[in-house]
């Protein structure tokens, strides 16, 4: 599903809802929109000047360009330095300017501490509402107060796809695309993707064999296809394998409204994934991990299927990843596959580091940057809002001390919707408490 470009992501969020709760959500979203528009940030006009601007658009890289921000939106991207009247100038000479990075596949907003620390909303223990895991929906679970949001923002990330890490069932539920701003309303798009693991680890939890896993998958999608043309009502008897709630979710998948992200590594598994399109022609597929993807890169490219990967994975961790190599990203790209990089949650900064390593292993630098910005935006159908520096897009912008893929460089200023974000996090506060400790008092007295 791609929503038409509209003024605000908040309105967009409302437009994108095609199911129940529409009225309630619309009202609340509009309320938030009104509050937001009255805020200080939206009145600001900012000109970021002099930087090396990576637009991630057809304008490419502009040396010494200017990005004009007005009311939270990018107004213009110019070659050369120009500061119109009424604009506050931020001099980025000698710096790099890029769109805010996008967490390609995360659990952000769903987890604080992963293990033995209370409810972790990125995991589901099977519940009766779902028999195959498709129904679970993280949009209700996002905690914008999570300290991970601030930590991640400091690394130059401004938005992210977030979803469940595990359900123990066939599908890992429906993910959302969120902003990493300080606003309560962070969901830019709900039902942004459905995830299913068809690798060895997926088979592990579904019958302990691909022979069961794939039949369960086909059966689920067949039932969804049926329900697509025969909508279930509460009074209607339903004897399908998937639950009613699963069916509702999977209809969006078989109709192509919601992309289906499929973890697969072995070449045969990847080809099986591509073959799903023969039966379910509207599926919007993307591959996740795809360790051995380079072996069938031509087929992936021909099917126009994007890949989300961790390019550092080069070990035969399982028997379905024997071909894992640091060359995977470069080889997939050479075949014409569109890449998104970064499957991280607590340590988002590993994504640009590993993208840089992929560059050292043959991936063009511009492609590595695209894999952290415009490509994930396209994958989740939010490229009309984020992912590049173009007029009309949300002003999610980062000023870097230098090349953002270089481990020794860092984000210096982060803007979300045109607002300059705090560069403090819980981590920087811990650092500062102990770096500048007043030894005459217990540490708890300095903050």
């Amino acid at each position: 599903m791609k929503c038409s470009a509209v003024i605000s992501n908040l309105i967009q969020n409302v437009r994108c809802q095609k199911h129940t709760l529409l009225a309630t959500r619309a009202a609340s979203a509009l309320l938030v929109l009104m509050i937001a528009l009255s805020g200080h940030a939206y009145a600001q006009r900012i000109a970021i000047t002099g930087g090396q601007v990576h637009t991630m658009s057809s304008k490419g890289v502009i040396e010494g360009g200017t990005v004009l921000i007005e009311d939270g939106t990018i107004k213009q991207v110019l070659s050369g330095v120009a500061v119109p009247a009424g604009y506050t100038e931020i001099d980025a000479t000698g710096k790099v300017v890029s769109p805010g990075f996008i967490g390609a596949l995360t659990n952000l907003g769903l987890v604080e501490v992963s293990m033995s620390a209370g409810v972790n909303d990125s995991r589901v223990n099977a519940h009766a509402v779902s028999t195959v895991g498709a129904a679970y929906d993280v949009q209700y679970a996002i905690n914008t107060d999570s300290t991970l949001i601030g930590v991640t923002r400091l690394e130059g990330f401004t938005s992210a796809a977030t979803g469940l890490g595990s359900t123990g069932q066939l599908f890992d539920g429906q993910g959302a695309f969120i902003s990493l701003s300080t606003d309560f309303n962070s969901v830019l798009k709900s039902h942004a993707f459905m995830h299913v693991d068809l690798s060895s680890s997926g088979a592990d939890k579904v019958g302990d064999s691909r022979a069961a896993l794939w039949v369960a998958l086909y059966q689920s999608l067949e039932e969804a296809l049926y329900v697509q043309s025969n909508p279930i009502t509460p009074s209607w008897e339903w004897f399908g394998m998937i639950s009613r709630a699963d069916a509702t979710a999977l209809v969006k998948v078989v109709s192509g409204e919601m992309p289906l992200l499929v973890t697969a590594n072995r070449a045969n598994d990847i080809l099986q994934v591509l073959a799903l399109k023969e039966r379910f022609s509207d599926l919007q597929l993307a591959l996740v991990s795809a360790s051995d993807g380079w072996r069938v890169a031509q087929q992936i490219a021909a099917a126009n299927v994007a890949v989300v990967l961790s390019p550092e994975e080069n070990l035969p961790g399982q028997f379905d990843r024997l071909g894992a190599t640091l060359q995977n990203a470069a080889r997939l790209h050479a075949a014409g596959v569109e890449l998104s990089i970064g499957i991280e949650t607590h340590n988002a900064r590993l994504a640009p580091q590993h993208a840089g390593n992929a560059v050292a292993n043959g991936l063009p630098h511009s492609v590595a940057l695209a894999a952290l910005t415009i490509n994930p935006a396209k994958l989740y159908g939010v490229d009309d809002i984020v992912g590049s520096l173009e007029a009309g897009k949300q002003a999610d912008i980062v000023i870097w001390s230098g090349d953002p893929l270089e481990v020794t460089q860092a984000a210096e200023m982060v803007f979300i919707k045109g607002e300059s974000m705090t560069m403090q996090s819980r981590q920087t506060k811990l650092r500062d408490r102990y770096l500048h400790r007043d030894v005459s008092k217990p540490a708890g007295y300095s903050q």
Partner: protein
Amino acid sequence: MYTLSTPKLLLSLVVSSLLLSACSDNESAKQIALDKNNPFPSTYQRIESAPIVITNVTILDGIGNKIEEGEVLLKNGKISAFGIGVPVPPDAIEIDGTGKWLTPGIIDNHSHLGVYASPGTSSHADGNEMTGPVTAEVWAEHSLWPQDPGFGRALAGGVTSLQILPGSANLFGGRSVVVKNLPSRTMQDMKFPEAPYGIKMACGENPKRVYGEKGGPMTRMANVAGYRKAWIEAQAYQQTWSDYEAGAKDGKAPMRDLRLETLAGVLDGDIIVHMHCYRADEMAIMMDVMKEFNYQIGTFHHAVEAYKIADKLAENNVCSAMWADWWGFKMEAYDGIRENVPMVHQAGACAIVHSDDAIGIQRLNQEAAKAWSDGVRAGIDISQADAWRWLSANPAKSLGIFEHTGSIEKGKNADVVLWSGDPFSSYTQAEKVFIDGAMVYDRADPESWPVSDFELGQIAQGDAK
């Protein structure tokens, strides 16, 4: 950092063997005794190589110095000379280092390669003896599978030596082993000949979680009770042997106890303590336990909160082996910060960058680079030359092998890495890796890339990994 005391345990075994042995020859008896104390001796042999000289290269010697446009001569397995104007023997192989950097080989003092090998099947889970909280009797070297493809990957990342540790489920997890990263047929072929043993201990959540419902410990207080109880038993064991040595009782040797033998080895100063510990308050308690029983903790591993007590770590001469940025995967890792390593260094304590990970071990130079640059941005002024201590010299000290490796100094083992450029960069790669003076990895030559038995005959055998 470690001065290994005269090994009392060894002495006691010598005595016992003398008494028990039928041999009248003192030399034979001693031989038996040594074998008893070192029953799995190293069979490592360096690869012979012609002298190698690397010229016009930027050198970080690993102990704080940087030399531009220098030369390094590797000969007979050792660093024969380095600096400016090094005389080159006529038979030396010359490698042009223009634009490149040379550093000591990276030493990872926290790895589970071989004991949690790839593929990560349950049949390869050989690192945690989760059958009881005190398993000081197990030795990681008996689990180590030298065909783990991870060794070769780590070599391509410039790792020349590494410590393989048992996992952290137990209060006492067992002995570690230090190996040279030259994948071979047997563990003994890789074993670092001069390295002392280490013991893995663990604080905090892991023992609690594993044993909380299996008879305990289920709390941190029971963890500490568990360490103290074990040390008391070890002291008693030491006493039994010293009584015996002093000729007490009827002259019959006490029965060996593998668990207590290892613990007594720690109290004797022969075995180095490597303690998994995240929280500052727990590390402080462990340093008190250390004083109570008069042993030395060599290194706190992970030490996510080391920055909070860096002064105390310096005072107590305990190293911290840390990640650049891992945090939040459990409560005791919640207070992780990016500047942990440089803050520990700044306090004058021994800072180490470790991996604990088969992927992370391949780019430890970048992990150090992140920590270094985060420190600089926070106002902690450390040179790159000093920061390299975190990767070679300090881990070598923590393993008790610094007199052999871990820095570029004349006479040390020629364990060095030639990098394609500044190793504090995402784009720089290890081009050539040397162990004991032989080139054991050359990025430009696929024939030099190690392929483990496991990978032979599989898809992508010999591919660039």
